[in-house]
Subunit: 113 residues, 2 copies
DNA sequence: CGGGATCCGTCTTGATACTG
DNA sequence: CAGTATCAAGACGGATCCCG
């Protein structure tokens, strides 16, 4: 995933940002209220630590996520979606709705709000 | 892209199907009315022939696309979205809407219907 | 010539081990 | 706990080859 802008198409350019198998899973978890690295790791999909770190960095770079460092412990920051990041909710909703309707066996884990 | 189902989450499972940088671009073109291999190749993003063939096969396997062989020329088939494939339209719409709203410089090429 | 398949070098991904 | 380092496996991209 290079992230390079390939065209002026809103679909292709958005996919440059979130078009991979992990980014939207991370966004999903953040939308569901998770904030810490370890929490994000716990999801049943089993994302690897380096992939999670990479995706969080990319999302930060795209200003979809911000990292909030802790004042007490230096290595205990948390991650939150920016407003821009939260605006991905309709995209996630559409993906989730499609999955629920067309992939038997899938179900909602907990309220996405 | 392995395509293996990793969880029961509708988001993660949907991403197993369409979570990469090319699949939704192909679906976009099919929704826009393109039907032939060569047409799909012409898009400004510049997909490689092997990648396009691979994505079409995967989409066929997932029953999102069907290949319709020509009666006259045997090597002149066309591809069309199935009903199931067309049902991805809201997902594509959400992605496109997000891109138009948040990625400056992106614009619609031609009516998506 | 159109519609792919195959080969191959490069870049990305992901599992695991390791560190502050 | 929160990542980084390492390294094998796989995906990408493009050039070419092949077949009707």
């Amino acid at each position: 995933m290079t992230g390079s802008r390939r065209s002026s198409c809103p679909v292709a350019c958005t996919l440059d940002l979130i078009g991979d198998r992990w980014t939207l899973v991370v966004v999903r978890d953040l939308l569901f209220g998770k904030t810490r690295f370890a929490e994000l790791l716990e999801s049943p999909e089993g994302i690897a630590t380096n992939i999670l770190a990479d995706r969080l960095h990319r999302l930060e770079e795209a200003e979809l996520v911000e990292r909030i460092p802790s004042e007490t412990h230096r290595a205990r920051g948390s991650y939150r979606l920016t407003l821009r990041g939260e605006s991905l909710r309709p995209v996630l909703k559409a993906v989730m709705t499609w999955g629920l309707a067309h992939l038997p066996g899938t179900r909602m884990p907990s309220p996405p709000r």
